[in-house]
Each structure stands twice: as structure tokens, then as C-alpha cells.
């Protein structure tokens, strides 16, 4: 699969192409009994669409990893933390952990730690829409929509407009979703 252009705006067309690629990888391999968990916020949007497209039986779970991050000592905690919800039994379950962008791997590490507070999964497979490289931990996705080149110091984020249409954007700082780029 070819990597999309490294413009400032990864266009909608490219995001949908990444999504279709991802879905194509998942469809033949995923069991209907799997539990899907999206990482707030971009991972949840992505997971909602994948969950519907794959017809998974267990309802969608979501994790807000703010309390498990390893940079809390420097950055502090943000006041708006959504409650994590896993509406299925984690013990013995095949878990699909979903995030929009994979970078250093630290968010995924935090998500796995939080997931293990809910039980002992049989396995966890990582599903990401875009891999921008730059890993700092030994974490790799099993399912990946595509690689994206992102300039150093920029943040790649998935956005969703009120109609549910997804796009990606680059910004120089981490912003709350809903703010302009």
C-alpha cells in the first residue's frame, strides 16, 4: 500500500483510502466474538465505524488513558477526562485495540496497562489508521491503514465533522478536538 502525500492536510480522500485498506485487512481475519476498544478520542471515532462495518457482537469499549500516561508528572492531568467503559468481559477475550495515529507507542502502552486493570485478555491486536513511525517502545500494529510522513514537532490528528466525516490535519501543538487547526 502506498503512503499518502506528506502535505499539510492529508485529504479526506486519503483518510477514506486508509480506512478502506484497514477494513480490508480486518474483515477476513477478525472473529465476531472479539472485543473492540477505541482509545479516546480519535481511536473511538475510528472504532465506531470499524465496529459497525465488522458487525461485532460485543458493544464497543472506550478507554481514556489520561490517568495511565507516563508524562503526567511533567504535563499534569487534563480536567476533562471521559470515563473509560469496557461493556464486555475482558477475561479470555480477543481484544482489538484501536487508535487513529501510532507514533511513539506510549499511548498504546498506557492503554494496555489500563486494559489489564479490567481483566486478562486472551490477546490484544493493535489496529491503527495511520502509522507515522517514531516509535520509542517495542510496539507494532497488526492492522494498519498506511504510513504517513509527519514533520518533526507536528502532531497528526484525526478530526470528525458534525456529519461524521473524518479527516486528518497537522498542527504544531496538541489541541482539543473541536478547536481549529
Amino acid at each position: 500500500m502506498s503512503a499518502p502525500q506528506s502535505d499539510n492536510k492529508v485529504s479526506l480522500h486519503d483518510v477514506e483510502a486508509l480506512f478502506e485498506t484497514l477494513l480490508g485487512q480486518l474483515k477476513p481475519r477478525v472473529s465476531h466474538a472479539a472485543g473492540m476498544v477505541g482509545i479516546v478520542t480519535g481511536g473511538v471515532w475510528l472504532a465506531e465505524r470499524l465496529h459497525a462495518a465488522l458487525g461485532l457482537r460485543a458493544p464497543l469499549g472506550m478507554l481514556d488513558v489520561s490517568f495511565y500516561r507516563d508524562d503526567v508528572g511533567e504535563k499534569g492531568i487534563k480536567p476533562q477526562v471521559s470515563p473509560s467503559q469496557i461493556p464486555f468481559d475482558v477475561d479470555g477475550r480477543d481484544i482489538l485495540l484501536v487508535d487513529d495515529v501510532l507514533f511513539t507507542g506510549r499511548t498504546v502502552r498506557a492503554a494496555m496497562n489500563e486494559l489489564f486493570d479490567y481483566g486478562r485478555p486472551a490477546r490484544i491486536d493493535l489496529v491503527v489508521l495511520a502509522d507515522r513511525g517514531g516509535r520509542e517502545l517495542p510496539i507494532e500494529p497488526l492492522y494498519c491503514g498506511g504510513r504517513v510522513d509527519v514533520p518533526k514537532g507536528s502532531i497528526l490528528m484525526l478530526d470528525r465533522d458534525p456529519r461524521g466525516v473524518m479527516s486528518m490535519s497537522l498542527s504544531s501543538r496538541r489541541r482539543q478536538r473541536g478547536e481549529g487547526a
Binding site: 495511565y68 503526567v72 508528572g73 499534569g76 492531568i77 486493570d117 479490567y118
Partner: protein
């Protein structure tokens, strides 16, 4: 103007008193507390935010409730908690307060939760320390900031918008650090009508300066209120010269169903605990549908978690 509770980036370094804290700081604490409230619905109620940190509970005044909730809050943040029973320790051997603190700091304490009978003791400790955070769990009659915050949280949970509320604080306001903290929290958060209700002997004379209206007539004081906060009447007061007797107090100022009916129909009833049933509050009210007293306890854990998490999250630079 330098607020000793804030670091040079305006972040919270100690929580000593609500007075003087900016509104945004209070709102941030309340918002953070809301995240922690949802944790108690989970089976695993712990998060690793304070893992590896040691929280020392330094209670120079007896307390079960406050000390226990601080301990639960710290443990839910994965901190190690040390409870110090000061009565039976070096204090009685004549060690000075700051020597005690230095010794504990040398044991790698990261956070001190301090309750002391002398107003200002937590401030003294905070000024003395360079690395650790200090949380005031009640000093003399001065301040009980986490109580003020959990009371504000409880009110916000039920009433949403402070700018439209009438809040009556009923009882021994003169001796109450709970009342003082509540008053500062409510006025900072924009409550337009804060009232203190009680016998003339138990109302401080300069309350108007804090933006509080005083009432010695209970009926007038609670009329049309959205919130009634009843304060505990301490035993010493009931024996002393400021009050005739507990029964007399109840007759004039006890929160009975009849008096509650004078407030708004959806008014909530609060009490910091422990309650003297039949003195400041009638059992029917304490156990009735408008009482949120037990919720205050639950919210207290989330609020204390929020304070500790915010203090711990200021980073190494934030302790400057």
C-alpha cells in the same frame, strides 16, 4: 501579589486555604474531581497517577472521617500512605513541629496532609518545605479547603450554576473552618446570595465583609434557599456560655421538616459530619429525600484525589 499556594506558573503547589485562589483554579479542581467520580463505578478503582509517591497523613487533631477519606483517595491514586498518630509520638516528647516535618521529609515523604489545632500550622510547614506538597486538612478555626471544595462540588452536581443560588450556612459559624472555606468557595465561584444563620453569639461580627448576609431568624434565613448547609454544633459550645443548651438550640435553629419546607422545593440539605441528630438537624431531614449528606462523603474522595493529582502533576519545575 505572591500566593504561597501557587508556583511561579500559577499552578497549585499547596492547598492551604481557598481564600485568594483564582476562580479558574477552583473550577479546574472541580472538573478534575468529576473524572475521578466515575472511577468509583469501576471494579478496579485505582489509577497509577501517584505510584511511587508517599503521602503522609499528619493529624494532630483526632479525625476518623477526614483522615480515612484522604487515605482512600491517596490509595486510589496508587500512592503509599503513612498515617501518623501524632498524639502518641514525638510531639508529646517536646519535638517542635518543623523538626517533626524535617524528620518525615528525610523519610522521602512527597506529600503531607496536615490537620492541626493551630490556625496557620500548614502554612508554616509549607513555607519550610522546598520539595513536598502540603494539603491543609483543617487548621484551627481557619480553613478546611478540601471540605469547602467537596461542598462546592456537591452543590455544582445538583444545582449546576452558582450564579443563581441562595445558600444558607446554619449553625456555629464563629468556630467553623468548614463554614469559612465554604464561604470563600461559594463567593469565588460567583454565588450571589450566601447567608449565615445562627444565634448572635455564634456569628462572627464581620461576615458582611466577605459578602455574606447574616440572619438570627432561622425561618427568614432559610426562606427560598437552594442549599442549606448545617454545621455541627460542637459539644464544648453546648456546655459553654455561648448557648443555653442543645435543646434550646434545636428549638430555634434545628433543621426540621417544617423549616426545610420554607426553602425551595428542590433545596438540598448538606452536613459535613458527624451529625448530632436532634441538635442541628432532625433525623427526618437527615435521612430524607433532600439530604445529600452521604453523597458529600463520596464526592469528598474524588475531590481529594483531584487535589492530590493536580499537586503531583506540577512537575519538578513546579515546586519552585
Amino acid at each position: 501579589m505572591n500566593n504561597p499556594q501557587l508556583n511561579d506558573r500559577g499552578g497549585l503547589r499547596h492547598l492551604l486555604t481557598i481564600e485568594g485562589l483564582p476562580r479558574e483554579t477552583l473550577v479546574n479542581i472541580l472538573d478534575t474531581a468529576r473524572s475521578f467520580v466515575s472511577l468509583s463505578g469501576r471494579e478496579v478503582k485505582k489509577v497509577p497517577l501517584l505510584r511511587g509517591k508517599s503521602v503522609f497523613n499528619l493529624f494532630f487533631e483526632p479525625s476518623t472521617r477526614t483522615r480515612t477519606t484522604f487515605e482512600i483517595a491517596a490509595k486510589r491514586l496508587s500512592a503509599d500512605v503513612i498515617n501518623l498518630n501524632i498524639q502518641s509520638s514525638s510531639q508529646s516528647k517536646g519535638e517542635s513541629l518543623l523538626d517533626t516535618i524535617d524528620n518525615l521529609a528525610a523519610m522521602h515523604a512527597d506529600m503531607f496532609v496536615v490537620r492541626h489545632s493551630q490556625s496557620g500550622a500548614p502554612h508554616l510547614i509549607a513555607r519550610h518545605l522546598t520539595r513536598q506538597n502540603v494539603i491543609n486538612a483543617g487548621d484551627g478555626r481557619h480553613s478546611h479547603p478540601t471540605q469547602g471544595l467537596l461542598d462546592a462540588y456537591t452543590i455544582r452536581h445538583h444545582k449546576k450554576d452558582f450564579s443563581k443560588l441562595s445558600v444558607a450556612i446554619v449553625g456555629d459559624v464563629l468556630h467553623s473552618r468548614v463554614a469559612r472555606s465554604a464561604i470563600h468557595a461559594l463567593t469565588t465561584l460567583g454565588t450571589p446570595d450566601v447567608r449565615a444563620v445562627g444565634p448572635r453569639t455564634l456569628l462572627p461580627t464581620e461576615l458582611e465583609r466577605l459578602g455574606v448576609r447574616t440572619y438570627t431568624d432561622m425561618a427568614a434565613g432559610v426562606r427560598d434557599c437552594d442549599v442549606i448547609m448545617t454545621l455541627r454544633l460542637q459539644n464544648e459550645r453546648m456546655q459553654g456560655p455561648l448557648l443555653p443548651s442543645a435543646q434550646e438550640y434545636f428549638k430555634s435553629y434545628g433543621l426540621t421538616p417544617e423549616r426545610l419546607a420554607l426553602a425551595k422545593k428542590d433545596a438540598i440539605v448538606m452536613h459535613p459530619g458527624p451529625m448530632n441528630r436532634g441538635v442541628e438537624i432532625d433525623s427526618a431531614v437527615a435521612d430524607g429525600p433532600q439530604s445529600v449528606i452521604l453523597q458529600q462523603v463520596t464526592f469528598g474522595i474524588a475531590v481529594r484525589m483531584a487535589v492530590m493529582a493536580i499537586l503531583a502533576g506540577q512537575g519538578k519545575a513546579g515546586t519552585a
